[in-house]
Subunit: 217 residues, 2 copies
């Protein structure tokens, strides 16, 4: 969002409630959209029956304290069926409704992602689809899918956010935050985020639960 804003776009933010256990991220999204001066922020509720069978939607525990080697080279249990395809398709519809052409998505293909729908070839395929799917496309103005984080390391992402004025105390990456919104420090998302801050020579200013992995970083 901050990158899109920096590129001169007016922001219409979209978030999705898809049955994720960590719905606390939707409150954070609202706060950050306001921080960034978004023109509006819409949270779309999706039928959770479409997305069962993921650790994020509660079918099994979110893995904890995995090493980078354990995260590498496989699809993680936090994979959610076709999630980014659903998110992008809804963004495509909404963009046409509000007469926007530019869709930003924060997917990241490297640093142990493992998600099929975070890869460059996947984003390219959605771009091709978008060029055929809509009235705007037929009329010569297809949507452009932007994935500026796609090929950045987690350290680069965090560094870029700092340059752009992101207040990381307001952000939540954790898959399993506590009821106060404190991050667990143990899930893959926390571990990779903490690694990213460390590689920038910084401490993560966000709040972590007591006894979390962070104490050991």
């Amino acid at each position: 969002m901050y990158i899109a804003r920096n590129e001169g776009f007016k922001i219409h933010a979209l978030s999705f409630r898809y049955g994720q256990q960590h719905t606390r991220e939707l409150e954070s999204a609202k706060v950050i959209a306001r921080d960034a001066g978004a023109a509006n922020h819409v949270t779309i509720s999706l039928d959770p029956r479409l997305f069962e069978g993921s650790a994020l939607t509660g079918s099994e525990a979110v893995p904890e304290n995995r090493s980078l080697a354990e995260m590498a080279g496989e699809i993680p249990p936090t994979y959610v069926p076709a999630r980014n395809t659903v998110f992008l398709s809804m963004a495509l519809a909404y963009a046409e409704v509000i007469d926007s052409r530019d869709i930003y998505i924060g997917v990241n293909a490297i640093d142990y992602s493992g998600y099929p729908d975070c890869r460059p070839e996947y984003i390219m395929a959605f771009q091709k689809l978008a060029e055929l799917a809509t009235r705007d496309a037929v009329e010569g103005n297809p949507a452009r899918i932007h994935a500026p984080l796609l090929n950045m390391t987690k350290a680069e992402i965090i560094g870029r956010g700092i340059e752009l004025g992101v207040d990381y105390t307001r952000t939540l990456s954790c898959y399993n935050p506590d009821s106060d919104g404190k991050a667990c420090g143990k899930c893959d998302a926390c571990i990779l985020r903490l690694k990213g801050f460390k590689e920038n020579g910084m401490n993560d200013p966000a709040s972590y639960s007591k006894g979390s992995f962070r104490d050991n970083v």
Copy 2:
């Protein structure tokens, strides 16, 4: 659905409430899914804010009594933003959840369709996307998108349905049915359906409102 059943598949039917004015079609879908012996039928409710700006979602009147020439060669006012992309993406998620590989969609590219997301090149692009989007795809079992009506005329579609035992008194194609579920006989969908029956040398057995176009067919 009847074609998929005839090809040996167990049916998991999906319908969508997306803000269409003619929600009566969802009741018909439920009846027909039961007729066809579907294993289950799920109706997904979508946020109507994603699909504004179409005659089908109430932003303008559904056109009536258009000639075939008027329907030809342009995107109709009943186009709904990115609708089939949203439908297919949700089917892709749901298929992975229920461990299915075969997704059927009843799009039809000919006979004055004009919808960008009913064209063969669009369906091919979604197939390519599906081959990259999911865990199943990465594991060598991508979803297959079937669009058996794609290149059939409306007359052929109706003829095929009759062969397969579809009870057309139960079906609803109309964009603007009355409160009893009777078809208007005036919208594009009615006109093309009636033309399809006529080309089969048959009368449409469905119920139409009094004074509708049907009286003139």
